[in-house]
Symmetry: none
Subunit: 193 residues, 10 copies
Amino acid sequence: MELYIDSANLKEIREASSWGILSGVTTNPTLIAREKGADFRSTIQEIATLVDGPISAETVSLDGDGMYKEGIDYAQWHPNVIIKVPSTTEGLKAVYKLAKDGIRTNVTLCFNAAQALMAARAGAFIISPFIGRVDDVGVDGMGLIREIVAVYENGGITTKVLAASVRHPRHIIDAAIAGADVATCPLKCSSSR
Amino acid sequence: MELYIDSANLKEIREASSWGILSGVTTNPTLIAREKGADFRSTIQEIATLVDGPISAETVSLDGDGMYKEGIDYAQWHPNVIIKVPSTTEGLKAVYKLAKDGIRTNVTLCFNAAQALMAARAGAFIISPFIGRVDDVGVDGMGLIREIVAVYENGGITTKVLAASVRHPRHIIDAAIAGADVATCPLKCSSSR
Amino acid sequence: MELYIDSANLKEIREASSWGILSGVTTNPTLIAREKGADFRSTIQEIATLVDGPISAETVSLDGDGMYKEGIDYAQWHPNVIIKVPSTTEGLKAVYKLAKDGIRTNVTLCFNAAQALMAARAGAFIISPFIGRVDDVGVDGMGLIREIVAVYENGGITTKVLAASVRHPRHIIDAAIAGADVATCPLKCSSSR
Amino acid sequence: MELYIDSANLKEIREASSWGILSGVTTNPTLIAREKGADFRSTIQEIATLVDGPISAETVSLDGDGMYKEGIDYAQWHPNVIIKVPSTTEGLKAVYKLAKDGIRTNVTLCFNAAQALMAARAGAFIISPFIGRVDDVGVDGMGLIREIVAVYENGGITTKVLAASVRHPRHIIDAAIAGADVATCPLKCSSSR
Amino acid sequence: MELYIDSANLKEIREASSWGILSGVTTNPTLIAREKGADFRSTIQEIATLVDGPISAETVSLDGDGMYKEGIDYAQWHPNVIIKVPSTTEGLKAVYKLAKDGIRTNVTLCFNAAQALMAARAGAFIISPFIGRVDDVGVDGMGLIREIVAVYENGGITTKVLAASVRHPRHIIDAAIAGADVATCPLKCSSSR
Amino acid sequence: MELYIDSANLKEIREASSWGILSGVTTNPTLIAREKGADFRSTIQEIATLVDGPISAETVSLDGDGMYKEGIDYAQWHPNVIIKVPSTTEGLKAVYKLAKDGIRTNVTLCFNAAQALMAARAGAFIISPFIGRVDDVGVDGMGLIREIVAVYENGGITTKVLAASVRHPRHIIDAAIAGADVATCPLKCSSSR
Amino acid sequence: MELYIDSANLKEIREASSWGILSGVTTNPTLIAREKGADFRSTIQEIATLVDGPISAETVSLDGDGMYKEGIDYAQWHPNVIIKVPSTTEGLKAVYKLAKDGIRTNVTLCFNAAQALMAARAGAFIISPFIGRVDDVGVDGMGLIREIVAVYENGGITTKVLAASVRHPRHIIDAAIAGADVATCPLKCSSSR
Amino acid sequence: MELYIDSANLKEIREASSWGILSGVTTNPTLIAREKGADFRSTIQEIATLVDGPISAETVSLDGDGMYKEGIDYAQWHPNVIIKVPSTTEGLKAVYKLAKDGIRTNVTLCFNAAQALMAARAGAFIISPFIGRVDDVGVDGMGLIREIVAVYENGGITTKVLAASVRHPRHIIDAAIAGADVATCPLKCSSSR
Amino acid sequence: MELYIDSANLKEIREASSWGILSGVTTNPTLIAREKGADFRSTIQEIATLVDGPISAETVSLDGDGMYKEGIDYAQWHPNVIIKVPSTTEGLKAVYKLAKDGIRTNVTLCFNAAQALMAARAGAFIISPFIGRVDDVGVDGMGLIREIVAVYENGGITTKVLAASVRHPRHIIDAAIAGADVATCPLKCSSSR
Amino acid sequence: MELYIDSANLKEIREASSWGILSGVTTNPTLIAREKGADFRSTIQEIATLVDGPISAETVSLDGDGMYKEGIDYAQWHPNVIIKVPSTTEGLKAVYKLAKDGIRTNVTLCFNAAQALMAARAGAFIISPFIGRVDDVGVDGMGLIREIVAVYENGGITTKVLAASVRHPRHIIDAAIAGADVATCPLKCSSSR
C-alpha cells in the first residue's frame, strides 16, 4: 500500500517528503484555505516540486461542467495533478469528460461500493472511500474497503482504492490488510508514534 | 460489472450517459409508452446515438414467430439493438431463430436458474434475472444470481448475467459481488445517494 | 449442462426443438408405444431430422446379444443414434461390443455409482442415473450424481453423466450444480414455468 | 452494553439524560476545567441529580495515598461517585484500600490485559481500556477488549469492562459485540448520526 | 478406478470379460484349486487370452528365493503376468529381485500403511490392502486406503493401490472415492445388482 | 448399543447367551426353517428361557389383517415376544393395530429413512434398517443409520434403531458410533476375532 | 485419568505406591513368573496391602469355565482383586458369570471397539485396549481409545477404559486427552523423566 | 487467574501486597539466599503477615523423607505455608505423605503433562509448569498449559495450575486465556508497564 | 529464515561464526560500549572479516541529517555495513536519503505494522520488529510479525522482516513459522539448548 | 518417504538390503560396539558394498575440531559416508567446516525446531529429530516433525528431515504423513508385522 499525505501545507509536505514515504498528496479547499496568503495554483505547483506522484487538487464547482473546466485548467499546471471531484452525478460527468481528455481523477467522498463502481465505470483513476466518516455513522469502514476491493476484482477494474478519512495508525494497518492500494492521512497521523 | 440504464426517456439516458457510466440500455414497452409522442424506432435510434453499447428493445408479440419478426425488424434499426423477449417457451423460439440469424437477445423475466439454463442453450446473449421481484415473492434474489453464475460456470456458458429489477444501490453491490456481468436500474436508483 | 428431451412424440420434439434448447433426445419403448401408428425406425429417423444431437433408442432384448444386434441395426438408421441399454450385466456386454464397433451407448436405469463405474469401464458414452426414482426409494438422488461425478473425476473417465428421471425444474438446477453433463426431461417439465 | 457520557458539561449531560440512554457519567480534570467557574464538588453533585448511575470522578494525586484520600473525600459527596485512578502501581494501591472501605473505583488508562487482570485482582469496580489510544499506536483496540473479556470470563471476575477513548459510533457497535459491559463517549459521538 | 476380477474360473472370467469392464485379473491358489483338473500354467495362459491386462498369479513358496524362482517361471508364461507375493519380509525380497529383472509384482495381504510403504520401496507394481479383512478385525478398511494414498502422494510413489477383499458394491464406490487405482472382486460382487 | 443375536438355533443362542452379551434375539422364517424338526412356537418359547430380552418372531402373512392375527397369537406365547413385520403398507397396518393392543413390533426390511419415520409414527417398538443389503445396492448403509437417528431425534421418537444385516465387526463399531440402539448379527460375526 | 502400575514386583509396587500415584495394579502370569519363588496368591495379597485399589489377577485357563473357577478363587483372596480375562468368547463367558456373582473383571488384549462393546455388554468392569501393540501393527492406537470412548458414551456404558501396553509418557498424556479412565504402565515408564 | 509474587524480599512483597493484587507468594532457596542475614523461618512468617494466601516454601532435601520432614516442619510455621517440592519421584513421595497429613504442596519444575498428572494423583495442591524454561528448550510453553488444563478437566482434577517461570506480561495474559488458575512472577515483571 | 547474532563481542561473533549459522550481525551502541577499549570502526571492520553478510551499525544522532552523515561514514567502512536507525520520523529521513545513495538500512525499534509500512516506503532494507519488548507491554509480539508479513505481501514489498528482541528459542521457531525472513539474538539464546 | 536401517550389524543390513527397501543406513558407536571384533572402518566400508545410499557414521569427539577431523577421515572411506554429529554448538562447527569441504552431514539428537533451523543454516544434509525420545519426555514427537517441515518449507531449506528414534510401525506411517523425507529404524521395527 502506498502512502499519500492529506495536506496543503508546504512545510508539512516538505517534512513528510523528507521521510521518503510519500507517493502522492491529497488536498482540498479547506486545507488550501488554511494556508494564509497561498495561491491555489502556485501551492499545487510548489507541491509538485516536492513530491513526485499524484497530487489531488479538488474542484469547487457544483456542476459537472464547472468541475470539468476547473479540471482542464488544473491539469495544465503539472502532469501529476489529479482532479478531485465528489461522488455525485455531477462529479461523474466531470470524471467521464476528463477521462476522455486523458486527465486523471480522484473521486472523493465515497461512502458505498455502488458509488465506487460507478466512479470506476466513469473512468476514475482513484476512488476515495472515507473510512473514518463511515465509522462515524456506525457502518464498518474497513468492510467498505473490502467490498470495493471485491467488486473491483470481480470486474477486472484497475481504479486505485485510496483509504481516506484515516483517523489513526490502526486504520492504515487495517486498510493495507484489507487490500487498499493507497492510504492518505494528515502529517499528525503518520507520525503519531 | 457493467451498468445499464433501465429507461426509454431520452433526457434521463442523456443525463446518465453524461456520467460516463453507461455500458448499455434496457427498455420495455411501459417505459417507451411513458414517453409521450415518442416513436419506438426513432426512440431506440436516438438512444443509440447517446450510448455506445447494447440497447435492449422489447418485443410485444406473444408468440415466437411474432417476436422473431419484430426482432428482425428492430435489428435493422441499429447494430447495437438487442432483442428482449420473455422467459417463455415462445420467447425461447424467438431467441433460437434470432441467434441463427446472428441477432443478439436479452431473455427477460427470468425467475429461476432452469430458465437461465434454457435461455443460454437457446443462444441468448443476455439473461435477466429479476432480483427485486424474486425478493418480492420471498425468494433470495441474490441467491438466484449465484445459482445462475454456478450453472453457467459449470457448463462453460458465456451468456451474460444481467441483474434486473434492481431496487436500491445495495442490490448493485451485492450483484457485483455475486458475479453478475451487468446490472440495470432506473436513473433514480443510480443516483439515490 | 446440456438439455435433452425425454419423448418420442414428434410434435413435442418439434416444439422443444423450436425453442433451440435441445442437444439431444432420449426415448424408450413406452414413449414410442404411446405414439399410435408410429413405426420405431421412422420415428427415430424423423427425430433425427428435427434434432442435431444424440438420440437414444432403447433396445428391448433381455440378453446382451439381442441388445447388440438391435444396436447394430439402430445405428444404421442415423449416425446420431445412441443405443440405450439397461444397467444389467447383459447390458454391459452389449455396451462393450458396440463400443468396439464404434457405436455409442447410453446405460440407463442406473441407481448407484458402482453401476456407473462399470458402465464407464465397459465403454458407455452416457450413463443415466435415475434421480427421481432414487429419490422415490428414499435415497438422495443428487447425492448419487455427486458420487458418480467424484468417481469419474478420480478415474479420469469421460463418460457423460446424464441426469434422468427428472421430476421438476429444481432437479435440473441441482443437477447442473452437482456437475451433470446433461439432463433429460419431458416437455412438460421443461416448460413448467 | 450500557452507555455513559464522557463529559462534565451540565447542559450536555442534561441533554443526553433527556434521551434516556445514560447509565452513568465519566469525567476527568480536563473536562471539569473546561467548565468555567465550576467547582468540582458541586459539579459532581449536580451531575448526580441528573443521572442515576455511576459517576466517575478522577483523582489528581500521583501517589496511592493521595489518591486514596481524594477518593475518601469524593465518596462522601454522593453514593454514586466512583473514584477514577490510573493503571499505575500507585493507582492499584488506592484501588485496594478504597475497595476495603467499600468504595468503588474505575481504573483508567488501561492499555493491556495484564493491567486489567491486576486491576481486577486489586478490587476495581470498572476497568477502562482506552481503545482509541491503543488504535493510535497501531495495536488493535477491539482485540484488547476481547482479550480482557476472555481473561475475566476464565477467572470468574466481575469487574465491569468499560470501553473508553471511543472515537466514533462504529467503536460503540464493535465494543458491544466484543463483550464490553459499558462504553463511554462524548455527547458529539453519541449523536453524530 | 479400474476393475479386476478375483477369480480363476475361466467361465466367470469369460463372462465378466464379456461385460467389457475387466482391466485385469487376480487369482490365488485357493481359487486355482477350486477349478478341478485345471493346470495352473494353462489356466493363467488361458486367462491371458481372455483379458488384456495384468493377471496376478500367486506364488506358494514361503521364502523369498522360492517366490523369486516361481516368479521368474510365471513371468515367462505371458507378458501380462504379475507375480503375487505376500506382505512378508520374504515377499519383499522377491519383489526386489523381480523388480530388478523387470518383472512386475502385486504385494498382497497388506493390512497397514507401513507395509504399503515398504512394498513400494522394494519396487512393487501393485499393493493390495485387504479392506474386507481389515473391517473384520474392527479396523476401518477405507481409512487404510486413505492412509496409503496419502503416504504414496507425499512420497511421489507410483505403485498402484488395489482395493482387495472387497465385500459389496459400496466398498467399490468408497474405494474409488478414497483414491484407489484398482478394485478387485469376485464375479458375484460385481453383479449383485 | 445393545447386541442381539440373529439366529433361531438354540445351540447358538445358548452359546452367545453364555457370553453374557445378549440383550435380545431376532429370528426369521428362514432361520426357523433351518432348525429341522423345530416347531415355531416351542422354538420361540425355548429361546425365551435362554434370553431375557426382546425376541423378534416374524409373521408370514402378506396382508395387515393376517399379520395382526399372527401377532396376537405370538404375543401370547411369551411377554418378551416382539412381532416382526415388513416395511410395507400392510405391515404398517399391523403395527398400528398391535400397538393399540399394547403389543410391541419390529419393522424389518427397512431401506430408507422415510420408511423408518412411517413405522415410528405407526407405533413400532423397533425399526430394522438393513445396512448390509443397503451397501449391496451401492448405497451408504451407515449413512442410512445416521439419517434415521437424525429423523428420530428431531421428532422426539423413541422407537429403537436396530442395525440389521450386519456383515462384519466394523459394521458393529460404526453403527454404535452412528447412534444405533441395537445391532443384531449371526453368531459367526460376533466371534470373528 | 487414574494410574495403575503394570508389575508384580513387590519392590516396584512399594516404590510406586510410596509416590502416592497408584490407583491400582495390573499383573499377568509373565510378570508373576519373573518374581522368583513368589506364590501367586501371597503375591496378590501382599500387593493388596500396598495399594488400595483394583488389582488385576490374570486367569490362565483357556475356557470360560476354567476362567470362572479361577476367578471365584482369586476373588476370595481380597475384595480388591479384579479378574483379568482375555477378549475371547470364552473370556466373555467368564466375565458374564463372574459379574452375576458380583465379581469384577478386566477384559484384556482388546484390539478393536467391537470387542470393547461386547466386553461391556457381558458386564466387564474394565476394558484394556492395548495401544502399544495396536501401534505395532500400524494401526492408530490412540484412535482406538477414542472409538471405544465414543461407543461407550453413546451407549451410556460405565465400563472403565484402561490404556494398556503404554510405551512412553506421551502415550499417557494422549490417553488422558482421548478420554481414557485409567492408564497402566511399568515403573520405568512412569519415572522416565 | 490469581497472581502470586515470586520473591522472598520483604520490601518487594510489601510493595506488591500494597497493590492489593497478591493472592499468594512463591519463594525458593535462591530467592531466600539473596536476602542477606535473613532467617528462612522468620522470613516466611513475616511474609505470612503481609499476604493472606498460599506461601510456597521450597524444601532442599533430595529424598522424599527429607522433603517430608522439612514439609512437616515448615507447615507448623503458618497455616498458609505450602510445601514446594520438585517433579521427581522423591518429590511425589513427599507430596503423598504430606497430603495424608493434610499439608498442601506445590509441585514445581514441571515440564510435561504426564508429570502434572502424576503430581495431581499424588495429591498436589498446586502444579507449577515452567513455561519460560519450556520455551527455552524450543517447546511451546503455552501449549503445555493447555495440555495440563485438558488432562485435569478430563479427569475432574482440582489441583491448581500455576504458570511459573513467567518472563513478561504477555505470558500472564496468554496463561490466563489458556486456563491457568494462577501465575507467579517477580515484582519487576508485574510492574513492567 | 536466516539467523543473525545480536552482539559486538568479537569472541562471541567468532564463536557463532564458527558454527556456520550466521547470515549477519546486529550491533547497537550498548553492545559496542560493553567491549572495553574497542573502537567502533575497527570493531565493525573486524566483524566484517568474520561474517560474510549484513552487519547493522547503529547511528547515535537524534536528527535525520546526523544519522545520514553517520550512515555515509559507516558505509565506507565495509560494503556489508547496514545503517541502523530508529523508527522515528528522523529515522525515516535518514533511510530515504541513504537509500537514494544506494546504502542499505535497518529500521529498528519497530512496534507496529504502520511503522513497518512507512519504513518500507522510505526504502528500508530491513525492518526490525521488537517482539520481546512488544510482549513486555502485553501485546502479542508474534501477532505483530504476522501483520507486517501480511502488509508486505499485499503490497509486494521486499523489505526483510527481522525478528528482534528475541528472548528464547521458542521465539525463533514461532518467528520462522510466522514468516519472518531473519531473526537476531544474543549468543546465549542461540545456544541455550 | 525413504527408509534407512538403524544398525551396524552386517547380517541385519544384508537382510534388510535383500528386501530392497533400503535407501540408506544410520549407525552409531553403540551399534558399532555391539558388533564384536568389528573394525569401524571396515564395517562402514562393508555396509557401503551392501547399500547404495547415505551411510551415517557417527563421530565420537566432543569438540568441533575433533568431529571435523573424524569426518574428513570417514569421508575418505566411501563417497556415500555421511558424517553424523550431535545437535551441539560443537556439532554445528563440524557441520559448517565439512559442508565447506563438500562433505555431507547428519545432525542427530535434534529435540526442537530451533536446532533443526540452525543445523540447516550450518549446511547439514540431514536433520534427525528423535521422535521416540521426544515422546519419552512427554512432548509430541510428531508435532516436532510437523514444525521442522513448516520451518524448512517457509525458508526454502532442502535439508532432509529424517525421523529417528522410531519405536513402532505407526511412527513410520505418521512420519510419512507429517512430511518427513526419511525414517530410520532397527530391523525389528521394520519387520514387526
